[in-house]
Every structure is written in C-alpha cells, then in structure tokens.
C-alpha cells in the first residue's frame, strides 16, 4: 500500500493536522511503510471470526440517574485558552 501526496493531505485534513508541504514526501513513505506492516494481517484467513472489541466480553454496567456533579466552571476555565462570559471562544464560525 502506498499513499500519494493527495492521500496524505486528505488524511491530514480529516485529522485536522497542519503538516508542512516539505514533510509530505516523508509522511508518505513512513505511512506507506506502516501500512505495509499492517497488511501482513492478510496472511491469515479470518472469515467467520467475530471481531473482538474488548478483551473481557462483559456487558456494560449502567449507572443510576443521579446528579452527582456541581458547577466547576471557574475551576475548569482557569487555564482555558480563551473565554468570555463563561463561554469558550473560537474564531467566528460562518454557517
């Protein structure tokens, strides 16, 4: 499997990662090498094998519907990059 420049750019955008134009060839080689490694999986036939998402196949434990959290806005926002009137700020979004 080899990823070309446009595929690297597409993935980088999907993951919202700015990468330098000059680094793309390098990423392209490295990611392709990793995918080659990953593709060794194809050496085994897994037809009919159920996927295992968790090692311990247990059901979820559900919690009761109780309010256990109190307002900690100030505490949480103390180190936030940019806030105003209790809101987190991002550059204006145009919908």
């Amino acid at each position: 499997m080899s990823l070309d420049k446009s595929e690297v750019q597409k993935i980088a955008w999907l993951a919202r990662l700015a990468i330098d134009e000059q680094d793309i060839p390098n990423y392209s080689v490295e990611l392709s090498n990793i995918l080659d490694l990953v593709e060794r999986m194809n050496s085994v036939d897994t037809d009919g094998i159920s996927p295992l998402a968790h090692p311990l196949e247990l059901p979820a434990r559900l919690r009761g519907d109780e309010i256990t959290e109190k307002d900690q806005r100030e505490h949480f926002q103390k180190h936030a990059p940019l806030t105003d009137e209790g809101c987190y700020l991002v550059p204006k979004v145009i919908e």
Binding site: L3, V8, I11, A12, W13, L14, A15, R16, L17, A18, I19, Y27, E30, L31, N33, I34, L35, D36, L37, V38, E39, R40, M41, N42, S43, V44, T46, I49, S50, P51, L52, A53, H54, P55, L56, L58, A60, R61, R63, Q72, H75, F76, K78, H79, A80, P81, L82, Y88, V90, P91, K92, V93
Partner: protein, 484 residues
Amino acid sequence: MHQSTLAQLSAALESKEISSEELTRLYLERCKKFNDSLNCFITINEDEAIKKAKLADQQRAENKHTALTGIPVAQKDIFCTNGIKTSCGSKMLDNFIAPYDATVVEKMNAAGFIMLGKTNMDEFAMGSSNETSFYGPVKNPWNTDYVPGGSSGGSASAVAARLTPIATGTDTGGSIRQPASLCGITGLKPTYGRVSRYGMIAFASSLDQGGPMALTAEDAALMMNVIAGFDERDSTSAEQQVDDYTKNLNNSIEGLKIGLPKEYFGEGLDSNIAKIVEDGIKELEKLGATCKEIELPNTELSIPAYYVVAPAECSSNLSRFDGVRFGYRCDDPKDLSDLYTRSRGEGFGKEVKRRIMIGAYVLSAGYYDAYYLKAQQIRHLIRDDFQNAFKDVDVIAGPTATGTAFKLNEMIDDPVSMYLSDLYTVSVNLAGLPAISVPAGFDNNLPVGLQLIGNYFEESRLLNIAHQFQQATDHHKAIPEGFE
C-alpha cells in the same frame, strides 16, 4: 535508605528510624541531583511533597496511618493530578494543569503515598524508547547513551536509579514491561479492567492499563493492593473481587506448569538474551516448576493488528485536543480550520501525528472492514491462542523484549523497526491479560527481563512466581554504577 524496598521503608517509618519528611527530602535531593543527566522527571513537586510528608509524619504520630503512609512515589505524567501540570509528554499539554485527580492518584494519596513528581514519558505514551517526549529523551541509568525503553521510560529510569522507591506506569503495548526490562526493574501490567483508567489520559482505550514499576515483586504487590479495584467512573473496570496481592507471595511454586511459546524463542531474538531468559526459566525449574513448549501461532500478527487498533483508537481519543477548552492553542488563528489544524499540527509531535493519521486512514470510508474489522478478528484469534495455551499450562514465560536497551537515536527514524521490537508484549494487550517483567540478568552490562504472562485476574500468581524468583536470584538488587 534509598536502596530499600517499600516493606523496609514502611518498617523504618514505623520504628521512627526515619521520618517521612527526611525520607522525602532524601529522595527529592536525588531527583534534583540526577534529573539533569537522566531527565526522568518532567515536574518535581518539591514543596507540595514536603508539605505532604510533614502531614504524613503527623498522621503517624497520631496513629492515623496506613503501612504506606509517608512513602514517596513518582507518577507517570499521564495520570491527572489536581492542580499539578499533567503534560503526557506533549507540547499540547505543556500548559495543562489538571483540574482533578485520576482514580489511581486519588487511591495512592488516600493510602498516604507522597508524590515526588511526574515522570517523563513518550508523547501520549506512543513510543518504545522515550525519545518522542516533548521534554527530551530519558536516559538509561545503566548507560546514559542508551534509551530506557518506553513509554514509561521516566518511571523505569527513576526507579532503577533509586530516585524514587516506586512509580506508576501505563502499558498499552508493553509500556510498563519493556522499560522495566531495559532498566532492570519489576513492572506489572495488570489484567485489562483491573486498575481504573479514569484520569489516565487515554491512548488506546481498549488496551491501556496502569500498573506498578518497582524494585521487587513484593513492592509491586503492595502498590497493587492500593490501586487495583472496581471504579464506577470507568465503565470498562472489572467488578471482580480484588485479591490481597501479598498473601500468596511466599507460596511455593512446586508443580507450577510453565508454557514456553516457540514463537517467543525463534528468529528475531538475540541469542544472548535467549540464553539469559532460558537461565531464568531454569531457575524456576529449580524451584519446582515444570516447562513445556506451547504454540501461540498468531504471535506474528499481533504487531500488524496492534498498529491498526491502537492508532484507530488514538486518532479518535486525541481529537479532543483542539485548542478550544484546554492545552495548546496556536497564535492568531485566522479561522476555525486554522485554529484546529495549526494547534494540532504544532502541538503534537511527529510520532503522534503519524499514528493519528494511520488511525484516521484505517477507519475511513471504504477501509474499515479491511483494516479495523480484520484487526479485531485477529485480536479474537490471539485471545483464543492464549486461552488454548492456558488449558495446559499455568503461566507463559519468555523474553520481555527482543534485545537490551538500544542507543539513543538509533531507531528514531525507523518507526517500523521500533514497532517490531514490541513483538513479545503487544499480544498480551490485545488479549487483555496480566504480565510481569522481572530482571533476569545482564548482557553487556545492560539488563534483560523475563516476562511471565498469566490468565485473566491472575496477578497474584504472577507476583508469587516473581517473588519466589527474586528470593532465589539477585538481578533485581543490582544498582547502576553512579547511583549507589
């Protein structure tokens, strides 16, 4: 005093041979003295540690203490610590002061441990050499030209150099066991779900597990008694009853059936390492264990499957680092996309970006079945291999790592070779099993670890075997030159 185990320190504190404050100062001095050369701490928590130590002495004076009250510890910088920087080895969180304590931290604080500081690690626990840290590489105290392993390299190096009596680590693909092996200490990766993941910054949620990194199996057992157990804040934590991990330490291992996977002793394993590991296993035979060759036929596939599952989960887990609510934010973002791409592009290091991109790719439309689903199927095969093996044997033994520590910068530009060096550790994570690495000897003055893998929730048995091994051997007592 700094060469003591937890049990010895506990006795010294109990007999008033030393106070917690004296002990804490002693270790803090060592941390400060050696951190320049080893770089194993990102944060040294001096003032707070001394304050807590004084409080511990008071609690001891008032008889309101546990056996561990006043004993210093180091926390891997992946665990959130309220009011203290929690960087996860990343520029992304260089300015992040965690607003809460991880469950592990909360439990250790409650038991009276004194936190000396936060240990260095590979960025977001992604690495096997501790070279991906934003804070620079950690050095191996056995030879500072060499890496300590990763990702819990700071903890391993600090324990080996006796800068802390014990430390926490986390293990997603070998991150406790491999650095333990490379630094000559004892590291236990518990069963998935045994130790709460709440407050432990997630790398790959279905693989991550926290555990102790210690000088001895007995010390690891003492820490496990504190940190193991069900946590209602972690949906994946097991409701299974917790053992007293010290209870069986002194049991005989007479009659123990050990499986030796032929895949763990094949090509790819350094012959010197093989010899040391085999000697270690002979030692266990002398103690009454019997050995038998077994097969784990899908071992080879564990690395490819791991490098799908772990990046997929990490690409999603690390999406929350977006420069909006906490952590790094780029300067003067011109719009929302710019805020996202630059904050993430500048805040994450190269290895993290590689893994995020691999993860995004394998989950993307059209590739899910070929990669992610396939990897989860292989995961099933790997778990079944282990379960078949455990029908015949009690534990599985083999090397922890393919070699001893390698030189700094030796593999940094070759991620695939680095990934392949995790051959003996990652399948344990895919299956969710417990495993321990114990010092088994030296090759060229660099430590070699013996790995023991147990069935689910058999930490007690692993600790028992490791303890018996350490009663019969001295490898774990060796101290790197210059750190005596």
